[in-house]
Amino acid sequence: MIEEFEKTIQDRHQAAMQWKEANQKKVFGYLCCLTPETILHAADVLPVRIFGSPEKLQVADEHLVPYGCRYAASCLDLAARGVYDYLDGVVIPNSCDLISKLEYWWKELVPRKGPTLAGVELCPYVLYIAYPEKRTGRKVLDYYKHELREFKQALERGLRREITDEDLSRAIAVYNEHYQLMGQLKELRKRSPLPISGSEAWQIEYASQLMPKEQHNRLLKGQLDQLSQGTKAASGVRIFLSASATDVVNARLYQIIEKAGGQVVSEDISCHTSYYGNTIQTNGDPLTAIAQHSLEIDCPRSTETCSPATYPYPTSRWDRTRSRLEGYNAQGAIFYIINYCECRAIEYPYLRDKIREELDIPVLLLQGDYSLEGLEQVRGRIEAFVEMIGG
């Protein structure tokens, strides 16, 4: 795999700090795929995804409920311990319940003031985005555009610069290129034999959330050229992986699957850049296009089950899940759901039944506590599942 991807993954904090030092620019951290990265990019800011760590909680445990997602708690814990002190700002959208609450706890445990003018705070250190609960409806786009405009204005005040439509269009072009390149990578993973292992593909995805998109695009282009020549082949039972949070815990999951004789060929993982299946429209108002694109994000948080009285089943999630299985000739589906991740837990029974009934593909459910030790306990099940399919 490309050395620069590995270097960034091995010490993501160091990589961001070095970039900041070398470029004398700001670095903002963000949680969840619902954050409009393009607006940050247009403001000449490097957006880096905030991830957790499988280390034991040291601070956050005292403040958060014990029956909450350990991944979100871990992100907060690292911040409270000063690991994310290099960030110039933090963006938190109201994705799941616990992430939404992190806005409050981040302010409490990392009490930093944003830039001020005559003693008045121009922009809070922690920026909150109220993503709509319902993604469809007559006024949803208007509402969200208004929300993003306020977000943009807060950034403009804090950074003391205007973010013009041209800036936004330039950022959209960079991100569209990224989505297209990631789309090409996904297409390559449909091939048999598989030109890239699941864990290598994960590295590319993970790095894309930590390094400047221009740099990632350049590196990925070279990687895609190599892969399309088909000199390498990864073998194994073809697995679709659906999981909470994309970070080192997931990385170990890929390794366990591969050691058991499987290969992840497609995935549906929280905050994966794969969520951006479509590109952003380039004709018309760029902020509207960004809002529209953001509303199309296929995240389990935003399924129809948000309005259970009207839509009892997450049918749109099934449509996307089906496409992630069928085109890739997946032979098995593994769902790894972090304890208390209600977004994924709610949709799981429906998706499991649909996968079994309509595609006749076996499904394995794993539950975890966002720890590497916890993954060791499910290793045997993964081995049994892969053996069951592979014979």
């Binding site: 539950q367 045997g380 081995e383 053996e387 069951m388």
Partner: protein, 262 residues
């Protein structure tokens, strides 16, 4: 008796089991307690078993290891998961088996089989030991009853106390408090076994209870547990001979398959 010799070794938490097959027929089996310092190593046991059968180590065609410690058997050519081995072992005795419940020391697994004996789906107990053989062992110590006689004694109980099954430590406390309240030991035992059966039955419900249900693993030797499960399911469940060696038997049977297409 002619045919190739295949060996299965099941390294469990509390015991190691070895099975030798010749030409698809069971030639010898052995169970060694893991906690017994005098117990033979799997290799020594296998050597002794082969010698008793008048065979040499070289005559073994293929060895497959299974169980939680399957990676610790250096002489095994391959490993296979417990799920696949218990299913194959159960199917060997009962080709009608469509659901297999393995009640092991620290793991309970339910497998769904097709008509060829292939595993089509499985579910396992959660990380906690509650509802497993280890749970019964803890309670047997508290009640000062041997694990072997627990089931028989529970069957003779005049009633049944309520014991929760979601945490071994809490259940142990509950049992101690029931003893302090002067409740009958047999009724407590019946309650404990009922609790274990309920946990195992949850897995059977999850996998879809399709007859014929076959019970394997050391826990299936407990007649009280078998009866409780049968009452819940409303149908008879079958137990193969020597149910604790079914994993090793399955591993040896996998050896027969893998020696053809390793």
């Amino acid at each position: 008796m002619e045919g190739k010799i295949c060996v299965g070794v099941d390294v469990g938490t509390h015991s190691t089991k070895v099975a030798i097959l010749r030409g698809g027929e069971i030639l010898a089996t052995r169970v060694m307690r893991a906690q017994d310092p005098e117990a033979e190593t799997p290799e020594a046991a296998l050597r002794a078993m082969l010698a008793e059968a008048g065979l040499s180590w070289k005559e073994v065609s293929f060895t497959v290891a299974t169980g939680v410690g399957r990676d610790t058997i250096p002489f095994a050519q391959r490993t296979r998961s417990e799920q696949l081995c218990h299913a194959r072992g159960a199917y060997y005795h009962f080709p009608q088996a469509r659901t297999v419940l393995d009640i092991g020391s620290e793991g309970v697994r339910a497998m769904r089989l097709n008509e060829k004996g292939e595993v089509r789906d499985f579910v396992c107990n959660s990380k906690c030991a509650a509802g497993t053989g280890a749970f019964l062992e803890v309670i047997s110590e508290v009640l000062e009853v041997s694990i072997g006689e627990m089931g028989e004694l529970a069957l003779r109980a005049p009633g049944r106390e309520m014991v929760s099954s979601y945490c071994t430590v809490f259940a142990e406390s509950e049992v101690i408090s029931l003893i302090h309240r002067g409740r009958s030991k047999w009724s407590i035992l019946a309650g404990v076994i009922q609790a274990v059966a309920e946990r195992s039955f949850e897995l059977l419900k999850k996998i879809g209870l399709r007859p014929q249900v076959v019970l394997t693993g050391g826990g299936s030797q407990n007649p009280g547990l078998k009866k409780a499960l049968e009452e819940m399911a409303g149908e008879e469940m079958w137990v193969p001979p020597e149910p604790q060696i079914i994993g090793a038997l399955g591993a040896a049977l996998w050896g027969e398959v893998l020696t053809i297409s390793p």
